[in-house]
Subunit: 121 residues, 3 copies
């Protein structure tokens, strides 16, 4: 049972990327990370997002998959880390052969740490 | 590793059902979905619940399993989607041969989208 | 698919321990449980913690692993149950051969049930 636990934890944690990795690279000219806000909510509900993120609702991701770049690493996030939306987006991206992770802290944690956000018009 | 990630995501996501599926069917006369509020809290803590849900604490589920109907699809929910209570209930239901899912948005998301709730007496 | 779901739920749930088990034992003279607060935040952000917990940020856990006791059962917690930090700590402890679980309710649930906490200086 301990081996199964360890295997599950390893695979589960490998789905996530830490905010520090993303933050450090986002300051670079040609960042390899692209942050995707995959919340299915309209702008007036979302109100703000992680600075520099692209809003692409999880439900629309498949229709836009041809616009994505295999050289980039996609980082998806939802309101919180325990929800399913980020994982739905992640499954689409990984299945299509893209490098992708879910942001471990999600939007909730990002805001809790006072990391840069921007208003949505 | 990518295959393991994809397999985990597929199985994990297959545990959940989207609120839209449940909502669309709940309006029907003879809905095939039965929503179960499996929170272990007393009514004065819970205060309200998803409209039409049946309150059956996860800890009492096993004792009432004979009252369940194999023709129905059970949808369990807890306060939030990342907790373990919904999954404990789900494990009992699936192990007993019932069709069952966890509500992807949980109560938190359901309320956040202003979907129908009702007070608990 | 049902078997895969049940297997995943079983392994996933086996990572967690219920607060009632921990609470009952914490009152004993020589408790076998040691509660670890693995949040990476400074004291002024954390403000309080579960009563009797030891603060050891997940990022520092590996460096202190030699101070741990194989006779004890470690119970780690983060802000909420759906985050990754508790699982990072758990992976380290299990990989090093310790008995360890994540607290199912996390700090959020513990406080929600008005269980004993203490201020952090």
């Amino acid at each position: 049972m301990e081996t199964e636990k360890i295997d599950l934890l390893k695979t589960y944690l490998s789905l996530y990327i830490n905010h520090t990795v993303v933050l450090a690279d986002l300051d670079k000219e040609d960042s390899k990370y692209v942050v995707l806000d995959v919340r299915n909510a309209p702008a007036q509900i979302k109100k703000d997002q992680i600075k520099g993120a692209f809003a692409i609702p999880a439900k629309d991701l498949k229709n836009h998959i041809k616009e994505f770049d295999k050289e980039k690493i996609y980082v998806v996030y939802d309101w919180t880390a325990g929800t399913t939306l980020g994982k739905e987006a992640l499954l689409i991206l990984l299945s299509e052969g893209f490098k992708a992770y879910e942001l471990a802290c999600a939007l909730e944690g990002w805001k809790g740490m006072n990391l840069p956000i921007e208003e949505i018009q």
